[in-house]
Symmetry: D2
Subunit: 364 residues, 4 copies
């Protein structure tokens, strides 16, 4: 069988990993990143609607790449977790939120490490999850899961068996804001987060987003007035860092670009806060992570992180209004999803955050 | 001479208008709009660097259009204002800010109506102008000038001889915010304006913006921390409406699109404020203007106003934080510049705001 | 009823027109163009899937435009043609190819003029239609229909009751090539047509084209090796002009842009052919039409015709290989569809080709 | 010194390489690719106009990457070649065509291997170079140089000391056409090459290309009628393969995208030629190279090779006209320039073509 052959092709000194949801955009990005990682080997790919196709038919960027493009996409079934455990040690799960719990449970029971890319296990409390997602919260698994942002949960990630990869908007808000709250540089109330995202975040389904003709040359807010599901996730993590309940208003905007996420966060400065203090707080918190704190008059640009595992963070302070701007640019499919999942896996294995990950993206 | 012939070509029942700066982007948009206007005729075009060229060489969208594309671009000289007064009645001035004063003075003295597209006359006080623009303020002319936003200054515009066309970011902030302040629906402090603009606003010079390769797929803030020149202009007009000094933080962002400007404004609601009250305030203030107040769950999108003289305004209220979102989408070259200039001219002539202007843009 | 009111709103000195398929891209473009036309009034709008919606919900560029955006989209039924005849004089039909015949027949019988935007009536012979479209050809109606390219069929269009609007790729090939064949400047065999089109040509259905993320930054050929349906239509019209059977190879390419169509046509020069002779042939053939023949070293760019009813045509000759390049840029939704339909209607009414049509597009 | 430190940072088991022209687009791409290469270490970076800056100021995608972003850009001087020889073994030269000869001569004399990215050494005969480039041809060095397309010159590349990296349009034409000529599947005359390129090929200078606003939504031919400098280079290489003088017409088109190059080549089939025979010829010629020959009804798309070192090639045959379509998609900065340079270096070192190069690009 193609899949058995494929398993044999993975060199024995590499950790064998699999992907459920390999034909989606985050799946394709995982394939690209795993292919360039010196310690991982791709041993299993599954995709619901494209099962039976060769990977290169579903993900044409793999066309002609031996051992990858010629893989056959399989159908994932939690019941076959014990067999999968013989083929891989780690499974990346890119399933709908409501399907992750059963899948993760079976895989964990079979001894696999699970890196989940859905929202299923990101939120600890059912009351912060169910109103936003409309289905039952997997509370027990969620409490066992480690929130996969190494910059905030490094210690817990070492040896973690279930990793919940953060949402992309969440990462873009936490990386610049968390250091300010930890260092008491901004007030707890009145935090406004204005995010600008490329359309790939909506996923690959043709009906998930408007056609090109209604996207190019257009920009628009969506899920306004605090209606975006990433809101409770941001609040959970910022509250943890601040040691107090934090409430934010997040407004996402859709931009005419494929990849990229820029967060512009507004918060009221505590007395005495300076830009230097903000930068120092971020450098200190993100020292081991994959975050560049910009200096001088440099400002973040999603173009500077396209295809990269790094996020760029910057700060400014408006003396006229006393408002701190905390900004972050990242690639929503890479640092905001697939590279972040691999960074968390790296940390869980005791490897450096950036092992095998592209820290220099395409420019231009 | 080409130019004299051109003058003769304008039908006698049309108001003869000229454009200084015809080869720039707002110049090209003026040409398009004047060509479709039933009461105006283009009688004069000037452009500094391209003087002597045929208009179709400089503005290739006019190629082959008789009576327009075959015009010769002239060199504008304030000293020849008396001669120009024989050729046109109205002059659109698209000059650098510091050059407008001398030009406008000469043209006004010669009896022309001047519609200025620079920032020279938008701000009433030298102290609000000189620190931002770095050259001397034309205070006397600025006080004589009428701020060219018909939705706010309709009465003053009738018969106006010197019109100062607002900045594009300013228009996008004033249209949604002014009604809320007038109707006491938001608090005066803590207003945050996050704008997203297409790159055509930077003008046509190749060095005015980054190359395509460093613009596509990128988005970035610029002039952060209240450093954008449109800030004092927004504050002047909002303070006038509020009857009190208003201070705002505006942060512009550059987007990978040519046209379009979206403002997302955040303000704290006064007790009892509702979305319906916001919409009602805007409908009432903008009744005669070129503004659509969106209903239901419709949200503004720059794609819906491309090439249009209309702006789209919408409101939302986050009950969790008490923040009102006041949003506006417009075409920065059209409603944010050239169509706005024509709308103001229409009002100054006693015509309806939208006479001859495209209120339905390209979709898609 | 909304629709009756709407009919009454059309000024009596305007020709009342209706649109079937008003919510698609060519429908939206027709609405924009009719709104700016001094002799036409929109009296009826229908759309299958969005019937019952206000037009501004379906076509958001009409939002807030009184008398247009507040129209209700109706359900078109050929059986009610007699009633429609009381409401409009002309119907623009944007139906699937196979639905046009029944609709046109009923409308013609009721006395309406029909401007059809499908391919149903473009091709005269069933043998040139059925293999490409896979359903029965409406031969009788097709022979009655006038091919709606005024540059080629001006005389027949005067008074025409059934007009078949050409395909967009076809227009882009005919405008530059037909003059060369008529003037015997190129050989009949070996004509290669390489077209580059924006994605709006695929229509508004989200599944009609790939998502933005798989369109931006990508370009690809499709329907290669003579498999595009516009091939027999090009051959029919070129053969007519040449007086001999012409066979061409057309290869379309999809580009990451919304509007625009560029044709680069390659043909072998007859001995003695010069670029000047090509230009002269085109100027002579297109004198009354909406075509600009570029001079000097100017080359066509789709950017120069966005939203315009004009096409730009240019020629070059490679002395090393003896190949003539015949090039054309147009806006596929405007000159390639909706503006072309209106140009043909203008001619059928005895009006100038460009009456009420935008000959200066958006730049940039 | 920064540079000395940098040299020391390169691990001793890596081949030390330098880049002249590191701040341009191909320079930035070289940096990205070298950073991911297991056998190379970046030891030297130079850039004329940005000398003295930190690399991360000039190439912001390297921001915060230790050992790379903090490098100081130096000023390259051929006279210091002997010192450079102590710091690197290989130099990538991205200089203006006319500056490469002196630089390469000095570096070769000092014992470095030179991989040149200009056109200086691509063409063997002065008569095929000087009319197109307008300066003196470096004939002696050009004859010593190996044309850096491993798919055509594999044997000569082993141990090569001076490598001339092909032009991007040339690569896109040679990869699909050379196998057909070698296998006698197409006729020698009448070959037409229509290329579609992203704008990054014009380089980073803001005046090298039109601004974003005049590029987005536009497509246009340029250097038509055989006037593009890549023409003689294509003819040299195709003639070599065919064993006879080949003359082609190449027409490049500029597309609204950053990266990507698609060639659609038209040639007349020899009797009996089939699509399968074309594919077989290409598979056989490109077996060791970085080329995927697409099967079934797959067609190339520049989106499928963005950031990848692989090119995608496909064939089709139109039975109605007897024309073969030979198509190729590649990333002009990667497979068309920097990755190609590294592929050639790999071969020159005896390594596999794809060693350390990304064969799976970003999707989307």
């Amino acid at each position: 069988m193609a899949s058995k052959d494929a398993t044999r092709e993975v060199s024995p000194d590499r950790l064998r990993v699999g992907i459920v949801g390999a034909a989606g955009y985050t799946g394709a990005e995982l394939i690209r990143l795993i292919h360039g990682h010196p310690r991982l080997g791709l041993a299993y790919v599954a995709a619901k609607e494209r099962a039976g196709q060769r990977l290169e038919e579903a993900v044409p960027s793999t066309s002609g790449v031996r051992g990858i493009g010629d893989r056959i996409l399989e159908t994932f079934d939690p019941a076959s977790a014990p067999e999968l455990a013989e083929r891989c040690r780690v499974m990346f799960l890119g399933l709908p939120h409501e399907a992750s719990a059963a899948a993760a449970e079976a895989l964990l029971a079979a001894g696999l490490t699970v890196v989940d890319l859905s929202a299923a296990f990101r939120i600890k409390e059912a009351t912060s999850y169910e109103p936003w997602y409309g289905h039952q919260h997997a509370t027990a698994l969620s409490r066992k899961a480690v929130y996969g942002l190494p910059e905030l949960h490094r210690a817990d990630l070492r040896g973690a068996k279930l990793i919940a990869t953060p949402g992309c908007h969440v990462t873009s808000a936490l990386l610049p804001l968390a250091p300010l709250l930890r260092a008491h540089l901004i007030r707890h109330d009145g935090i406004v987060i204005d995010t600008k995202t490329g359309v790939s975040g909506a996923g690959r389904s043709p009906t998930a987003s408007k056609p090109f003709s209604e996207t190019a040359e257009g920009t628009r807010p969506y899920k306004v007035a605090g209606n975006h599901r990433h809101t409770p996730e941001i609040e959970q993590e910022l509250s943890l860092v601040a040691g107090a309940a934090i409430r934010v208003l997040m407004t996402p905007h859709l931009l005419p670009m494929t990849r990229g996420l820029l967060a512009t966060c507004y918060a009221r400065a505590e007395p005495g806060t300076t830009v230097d203090a903000c930068r120092q707080a971020a450098r200190s918190m993100h020292e081991e992570g994959l975050v560049t704190v910009l200096e001088g008059d440099q400002l973040p640009d999603t173009l500077h992180v396209r295809g990269s595992a790094r996020a760029h963070v910057a700060y400014a302070l408006d003396p006229r209004t006393g408002i701190v701007l905390a900004m972050c640019a990242l690639d929503n499919l890479s640092r905001g999803a697939s590279a972040e999942a691999l960074q968390a896996l790296n940390v869980s294995m005791g490897w450096p955050d950036g092992l095998g990950l592209p820290e220099i993206g395409l420019f231009p």
